[in-house]
């Protein structure tokens, strides 16, 4: 499966993702500059991404923990998510997102 990731220089990268992988891991293993300092433990908010509006409704909803931690990221928008808390699934094949600011 693929996801399309726009980096901070507005370059779009096609990234391979396996089912059930945290999206953050897919982005990181493609060598893109995502900090993800806590390694996916929902403790740092440095894996912040903006999900393309067309995809926002298709992704599993946020749980409390993610919502709370997302509060620590800068420039949060309605489409903001923590990429370590989203898992790849068949219905997300082709997902479009961009890297977002972090502290």
């Amino acid at each position: 499966m693929k996801i399309l990731v726009t980096d901070f220089d507005h370059v779009v990268h096609e990234v391979t993702a396996e089912a059930d992988w945290p999206i953050m891991e897919a982005i990181r293993s493609a060598g893109l500059p995502i900090k993800a300092e806590c390694g996916g433990c929902c403790l740092c908010a440095t894996c912040h991404v903006y999900v393309d509006d067309a995809w926002v409704g298709k992704i599993q909803a946020m749980d409390d923990e993610e919502e709370m931690m997302l509060g620590e990221a800068p420039q949060v928008r309605p489409s903001s998510r923590l990429s370590c808390q989203m898992r790849m699934a068949p219905e997300l094949d082709g997902l479009v997102l961009s890297l977002a600011p972090t502290y």
Binding site: E37, C38, C41, L43, C44, T46, E67, M68, M69, G71, E72, P74, Q75, V76, P101, T102, Y103
Partner: protein
């Protein structure tokens, strides 16, 4: 300031799990250790990032938490009487003509060590800097990531930002001395002790402090002195809060820090070592745990423990060249058991 220099066999930089266990391996060989960490408590990532999360891959411990692992390591090394110097950053490392090392911290503590063990993880924990233009120009004068003296804030107009325990604790503490405290956070929910949240809301209700739902976007002022903080509120308005100091509390991140200046061979911010003794390109300086790199490196606590054991053998040969090194098991050696004070 200390005017006396502390003499030690080994100086360990970083009191994470790997630095702590190194005390044990060096201690079995009768080598005395001092440890320095910028954090105010031992434990490194285990304590700072995941004290309550479970760890499943420590051999012989089917499950433990970050916190319990660190507590047990501290107990395990107690017989060797390690000395901790916390809340200090190791800033300087210089070799003497006799081969020993002069090590200095930012608090002025000085060590003279036979060997130096860098167990610095991904670097020293430093506060996260918010992405605000030119914030560097204000740091140290009117932007602070920690409060060293409450008195310095007396009579000042403060803007505090963040949603964790530090932001709330300082809001409550500084409300008593400051001219005015404004807390800025994007949500009305906090990752903090419920009691602090309740107290904060009480202070807002009785008009002692202000709480703004929004995000700090820009700083205004001249020569490092702040005049106001610009806030984008959640409703989409722009506020200009008059302020003398801005205190952002967005947690900690790890930065390599002064280690980059010590002349060690680095490979993508990791210290290159050999896998026989985990010694760096500079003889007498070792690097163990997350901070080092070598072919096949895994950033696991388990690997850091192994690295510490091998490092100790070489450190012994440097520090006690006249002595023979005997290989012994803690199970059967009464000599080792005496050191561990179990015999």
């Amino acid at each position: 300031m200390h005017d006396s220099i502390i003499e030690t066999d080994a100086l360990i930089i970083g009191a994470g799990p790997v630095g702590l266990f190194a005390v044990f391996e060096l201690g079995l060989l009768d080598l005395k250790c001092h440890l320095v960490d910028v954090l105010d408590k031992p434990g490194g990532q285990c304590i700072e990032f995941y004290p309550e999360k479970p760890i499943y891959d420590i051999p012989g411990l089917p499950e433990c938490t970050g916190q319990s692992l660190i507590e047990n390591l501290q107990r395990q090394i107690l017989p060797f009487e390690p000395e901790f110097h916390l809340g200090q950053l190791v800033s300087q490392l210089v070799q003497r003509p006799d081969g020993r090392w002069d090590v200095t911290t930012d608090a002025g503590t000085q060590f003279n060590a036979g060997v130096v063990i860098v167990a610095a993880g991904s670097g020293c924990f430093t506060p996260r800097r918010p992405p605000i233009d030119k914030i560097e120009a204000f740091e140290g004068r009117s932007v602070f990531y920690a409060v060293r003296r409450i008195e310095a804030m007396r009579g000042r107009r403060l803007v505090i930002s963040g949603g964790g325990d530090s932001a709330l604790d300082w809001t409550l503490n500084l409300a008593r001395v400051a001219e005015r405290v404004t807390l800025v956070h994007r949500r009305d929910q906090f990752r903090a002790a419920p009691d602090s949240v309740r107290k904060m809301h009480e202070l807002v209700a009785d008009g002692t402090i202000d709480f703004v739902l929004g995000e700090c976007r820009a700083l205004e002022g001249a020569d490092g002195n702040l005049s106001s903080v610009q806030v984008a509120t959640n409703e989409g308005a722009e506020l200009r809060l008059p302020a003398d100091c801005f205190l952002p509390f967005f947690g900690l991140t790890m930065k390599l820090g002064p280690i980059a200046d010590w002349g060690l061979n680095l490979d993508e911010n990791r210290i290159a070592v050999d896998t026989e003794a985990f010694e760096t390109s500079v003889p007498g300086i070792f690097a163990i745990g997350d901070i080092n790199t070598y072919p096949g490196k895994l950033k696991l606590i388990l690997s850091g423990f192994h690295e510490g054991a091998l490092m100790a053998q070489k450190a012994f040969r440097i520090l006690r060249p006249e002595k023979r090194l005997l290989f012994q098991y803690t199970t059967t050696s009464t000599q080792l058991q005496k050191k561990l004070k179990t015999a």
